[in-house]
């Protein structure tokens, strides 16, 4: 019931935005900014890029607001944020591939002593950025954000069963990548 109420209020709010109501734009932004930020971070965006990702996501959302017809705005916005983050991970991987030819990776395997609080987060970001996008999102949303399978299924637009399967494989990938970087099982 709550989801239906949310959805109908989202549609109304977006309708007012389309009609040119400036206050509604601000309301829509304020209601969803924290969510966009949080998702961007959970999906492995480095802290320094969070503002850019948030801005880019809202730019896309506002530009294509006419495409939002029904459902929850949050779910729709999630897809945009996830796509922006995936794009940035892809770009970063290519960049690292090029620069990696001349300089070694900043986090080397077998240096447990250096893995402290900040480095742990960087390690998680690195591992997430190298995971397949579909596995990354279910892993981040479940293991880090703590969302239940049903909610993840709604956000990513698939069935709960698929979420469970993806999560299983994502955990394996995450473990393997962490072990390669010197983390103990």
């Amino acid at each position: 019931l709550d989801a239906r109420v949310d959805a109908s209020s989202d549609v109304e709010l977006v309708g007012r935005c389309r009609a040119g109501d400036a206050a509604s734009w601000r309301t829509l932004y304020s209601q969803h900014f924290d969510f966009a930020w949080r998702i961007a971070r959970r999906l492995g965006t480095p802290q320094a890029e969070l503002e850019d990702v948030a801005q880019e996501s809202f730019e896309i959302a506002f530009k294509h607001l006419d495409d939002f017809r029904e459902g929850r705005f949050r779910t729709w916005l999630y897809r945009i944020v996830a796509n922006v983050v995936s794009g940035r991970h892809r770009t970063r991987r290519v960049r690292e591939l090029f620069f990696g030819m001349w300089s070694p990776s900043s986090i080397d395997a077998g240096h447990e002593a250096r893995v402290e609080a900040r480095q742990t987060l960087e390690l998680v970001q690195q591992v997430l950025s190298r995971m397949a996008p579909k596995k990354r999102e279910v892993f981040a949303l479940h293991e880090l954000e703590g969302l239940p399978h049903a909610e993840i299924a709604e956000l990513v637009g698939t069935s709960e069963e698929t979420v469970r399967t993806r999560l299983f494989h994502a955990r394996k990938d995450f473990e393997r990548a962490c072990l390669k970087r010197g983390v103990e099982p």
Partner: protein
Amino acid sequence: MKLESVLEEARSDAAVVAPGAARERVWQNLQRPRRARPTLLYFVASATLGALLCLGIVRLVQPAPQLQLAKVELGQATLLTLRAPARVELGTRRIDLQEGTATLKVAADGSGTLEVQTGACFLTDSDGSRRPVSTGTTRLGPLLSEEVALYERGWAQLSKNPQAALAVFDDQLRRFPKGALVQEARLSRLEALVALGRHAEAVVEARSFLQDFPQSERAAEVKKVLEEK
């Protein structure tokens, strides 16, 4: 560091909470007019512009080919091989080869052929008209006939309208300064000056004629005019 503690630390990541200042900054940025994002078209346009600029710089750096200038004297056969840029003055005709190569064969009377192998060529005729010459062979008519026609026109005017005749002879001498009928034109001009009563100019003209053509068969006539004066 154990795997579970890595996850634990990631879960308690403080950066998932957006700072208030960031929220305001992003909102302010969203209000600003957006810069156009680079598109494929943008890159294609930039690459084209860059290539054109490079081409322009290369052309600027390259020294411009020097214009070949040739003046063909009438009265002798001439063969010229032209390479652009080239200009040939052939009597009152002018040939401008702007691109490519051409061969010019001229007979003593100014007639001949212009063979344009490649490129762009223009012919400015005696009447001042300019036309492009197509690739291949173009025939050029004799120039003497024009000089003769001019002289005959002046001669026909001489008895009736010496002023008009003088203008025609002046025109002929300007257009054919080394033509076959220069002596005739100068003598007829002298006659026109006498007929107009411009004796001082006639004397100057006569002396000038004797100086230019001392061996002329007509020199005796000229001396006679001077003596009469």
